[in-house]
């Protein structure tokens, strides 16, 4: 399963055990003093925060504050954008600097999967959407692929709705189903972390609550970082919340504290809908 032969490796030595949410949090990703630039534009300023394993971390803040940028830093998706650089600081996953010279980016992105705001299934069948990444990794065994497809679709709470039409086009699904298909695709490769950038912003309330339910279930096996503009959603599904403004981390803490008794008046104004 691990393709990169060179240490250091980002993968886990043993298969992940589901952890009950009540256990003490272990730091999985440590962001330290990160400055990030798009060309000459600085988008992140001195960001330091720790993402805990098997927890849901919500990133909130007004448009343009750098949430998506930080999210993309976590699996080096920003590498795909010309002229970007982490000018200072480090991001470590299980102690390994993800921007280090030995890191296999493909492997990193397998460990740290992503679900986008607009569901973006490939214009292929449901089955192929899920197996695409696995086939790229060289997995050919039909029985094994079938097994992973079922497991991933069940994991994304979509199996019952699509099990009889696995070979129809993914684009024929409803918006909410497409988003869950993207989540199924993300979990098919068994990542450690799932990054979600406004995964529910295009969904109706019912599909939204399905995805929220799903997030709640997924965190027993994965670490989730979610960007959302929906304050109630952040309050409902996350364990920790980070509030950003103008590229800075203003406040980071337990979600219940951020929404019940934030320390910073700006956080208070933002979560109360007084920002603007």
């Amino acid at each position: 399963m691990v393709t990169a032969a060179t240490p250091p490796t980002l993968s886990m030595e043993t298969s992940p055990q589901p952890l009950p949410a009540a256990t003490a949090a272990t730091p999985l990703i440590e962001v330290e003093h990160v400055d990030f630039f798009y060309g000459a534009t600085q988008a992140l300023r001195d960001i330091t925060l720790t993402i805990d394993e098997h927890r849901v971390t919500a990133l909130i803040g007004p448009s343009g504050c750098g949430k998506s940028t930080l999210l993309r830093c976590l699996n080096r998706m920003n590498d795909l954008i010309e002229g970007t650089r982490v000018a200072r600081g480090s991001i470590r996953m299980r102690g390994v600097d993800i921007n280090g010279p030995d890191v296999d980016v493909i492997e990193l992105r397998k460990r740290v999967g992503m679900v986008f705001q607009k569901s973006n299934p490939f214009p292929k069948s449901i089955y192929e959407n899920i197996t695409y990444g696995l086939r790229l990794q060289g997995l050919k065994n039909k029985a094994r692929l079938d097994e992973i497809v079922e497991k991933s679709l069940r994991g994304a709470a979509l199996w019952d709705e699509v099990k009889d039409r696995l070979h129809t086009n993914g684009l024929s699904l409803s918006g909410g189903q497409q988003q869950r298909l993207c989540i199924a695709r993300a979990i098919a490769v068994e990542p450690d972390v799932i990054l979600m950038d406004e995964p529910c912003s295009a969904l109706d309330p019912l599909s939204t609550s399905k995805v929220e339910e799903l997030i709640h279930e997924l965190k027993t096996r994965y670490t989730i970082v979610i960007v959302t503009h929906n304050m109630q959603q952040a309050a409902r599904c996350s364990d920790k919340t980070a509030f950003f403004y103008l590229g800075r981390l203003v406040e980071y803490g337990e979600t219940r504290t951020i929404f019940m008794n934030p320390a910073n008046p700006q956080t208070e104004a933002y979560v109360s809908g007084r920002f603007g």
Binding site: L49, R248, F259, N261, A263
Partner: protein, 240 residues
């Protein structure tokens, strides 16, 4: 709490069209506070001055507090339903509902005192009114300080309210002993002495409600629940 150095210079904070709903809610709670203080003050005045007319007035005015409590509950339910408040707004709504309940009970105790004042006004006083006005004076100060904390977030004042509760408890016990000996020595005073005992108990309850309100206001200001915590623990009171 601020991991990054410095803060964004300007952070635009706007008013929302429904902010007036919260203002109304706050003002209703303040009105309840003022009204219940007035009710206690008038009930005690009626007692001390044997003013049956004033006592009747207090009894009739209790409706005001009942109506306000219902109004505050309705507003709170509506606000939570429509605005899904968070942070200090959510605490305000929760505290508003609890404090209005305490204030309504303060009003009930004021009416109880007033009813007894009506009966006592028909008889000669058992003894000069000294201890009861002293107790009610403390209880009223406690209520006033708890409401001040609501107005200006003065948490120290609210903590002091919690500590003063013991003073009222002690005065209440002292008065019990004194009135018990009256009754033993002069059985003819039993009726009046019992009325006074119940009044004393009412004042003690008012101080309890003031303490609750103070704790609620600390929660509102700090987001910290101090009930049953060391911070508000009373010094060990002597056994009776």
């Amino acid at each position: 709490m601020l991991p990054s150095s410095g803060q964004p210079a300007d952070f635009p904070v706007m008013k929302r069209f429904f902010d007036s709903e919260l203002e109304t809610f706050r003002s209703h709670l303040l009105l309840m506070g003022e009204t219940s203080i007035r009710q206690v003050r008038d009930a005690m005045k009626a007692l001390v001055e044997s003013d049956a007319a004033l006592a009747h007035h207090v009894i009739a005015a209790d409706d005001e507090l009942d109506t306000l409590e219902v109004k505050i509950d309705e507003e709170a339910a509506r606000y939570m339903n429509l605005r899904a408040p968070v942070a200090s707004e959510l605490r305000l709504v929760i505290v508003g509902m609890k404090a209005s309940h305490d204030l309504e009970r303060v009003g009930d105790e004021a009416s109880n005192i007033a009813k007894r004042a009506v009966r006592l006004s028909a008889e000669p006083p058992l003894k000069p009114y000294i201890d009861l006005p002293r107790m009610s004076g403390i209880a009223l100060e406690m209520l006033r300080d708890a409401l001040d904390c609501f107005l200006n977030g003065d948490v120290q004042k609210a903590l002091a309210v919690c500590h003063r509760d013991t003073e009222v408890d002690q005065l209440n016990r002292q008065l019990y002993r004194e009135l018990t000996s009256f009754m033993l020595e002069q059985p003819a005073t039993i009726g009046r002495a019992l009325e006074l005992m119940f009044i004393s108990k009412s004042i003690e309850r008012i101080a309890d409600h003031a303490t609750n309100i103070a704790e609620e206001m600390i929660y509102l200001a700090k987001g910290q629940d101090v009930r049953h915590s060391e911070q508000v623990k009373k010094p060990a009171s002597p056994a009776t």
